[in-house]
């Protein structure tokens, strides 16, 4: 990873901390956002989690011991924040404060589309429907399988997933095997 080469495992020096942090954001924001979005299924929450993940990293960069890569460290922070999000959602539901807008599958259609769908409303509707089906399939997975599947689907290696989630590589593989089977059953028509 380029960031790790420039910043080093001990973190960036104070003199160029700002530019090193900007580089870290540039390189990892897509991954962190994708993981956050797939883990909580809500675009607003994903943006918040992404921002909070990088701010937490910025705040604790000096404490980073370099035992893992910056990438797996960021993924661990993001996964923890997504877990906190679900705990918060459950607590709100328990006290009867949950509303429709916070539902994981209630993501706005325009948020799910990559580009301006003007002129192609049918394609846009199909893309939105696919996106909802995919997110529903992910949400149906048990939490650990969901985390493994989300990280794996973003191209994270088994070893990195293990480091990020604190699991043995064999456990990661077992979760991925099971998650893949369930996702295959849910989304079979698209495969």
């Amino acid at each position: 990873m380029e960031t790790e080469k420039k910043a080093g495992p001990q973190g960036p020096g104070a003199e160029d901390a700002d530019s090193a942090f900007a580089l870290l954001v540039e390189e990892q924001q897509r991954l962190v956002y994708a993981v956050a979005l797939r883990l909580c299924g809500n675009t607003a929450a994903a943006e918040d989690i992404t921002q909070e993940t990088f701010i937490a990293a910025w705040r604790h960069l000096k404490d980073f011991r370099g035992e893992s890569s910056l990438k797996t460290w960021l993924l661990r922070i993001a996964a923890n924040k997504a877990r906190s999000y679900w705990r918060w959602r459950r607590l709100r539901a328990w006290v009867g404060l949950a509303d429709r807008g916070e539902d994981g599958e209630g993501t706005a259609l325009e948020d799910l589309l990559p580009d301006d769908p003007a002129g192609r409303p049918e394609q846009a509707a199909l893309a939105a429907e696919l996106e909802r089906r995919v997110q529903a399939a992910i949400n149906a997975l048990p939490p650990r399988q969901r985390e493994v599947a989300v990280l794996r689907s973003q191209g994270v290696s088994m070893a990195e997933i293990g480091a990020a989630l604190g699991m043995a590589e064999g456990t990661v593989k077992a979760h991925w095997f099971e998650a893949r089977r369930k996702l295959g059953a849910s989304l079979g028509e698209y495969l």
Partner: protein
């Protein structure tokens, strides 16, 4: 599930956003990081600011005349004591044979 299907599944699960989204998000993160650091630097300056305020207050009070009865007043007994000490210094400085 074969390799091809797995690749397709991974592709389905990928997240796609418009090109304009990423620079906007990056800017928001960097702005938030800047705000996070701002108050911390202010806290670093707080002791210096407090010291400056104290200095200004001390200078604003200006030199004050001391009361003759205050703790700064030198008593006659103290002066006599100093005289005695001075005498001792003189006495110690004189060789014994001259005494």
């Amino acid at each position: 599930m074969n390799y091809e299907k797995e690749e397709k599944l991974v592709s389905l699960l990928a997240v796609r956003r418009g090109a304009a989204f990423w620079p906007r998000q990056k800017a928001a993160i960097l702005r938030a990081a800047g705000e996070e650091r701002g108050p911390r630097r202010a806290w670093l300056l707080a002791p210096a600011a407090a010291l400056a305020v104290i200095l200004v207050l001390v200078l604003a009070r200006g030199p004050q005349e001391r009361s003759p009865d205050g703790p700064g007043a030198v008593s006659a007994a103290f002066i006599e004591h100093l005289d005695l000490l001075a005498d001792m210094d003189v006495l110690e400085a004189i060789p014994e044979e001259e005494l």
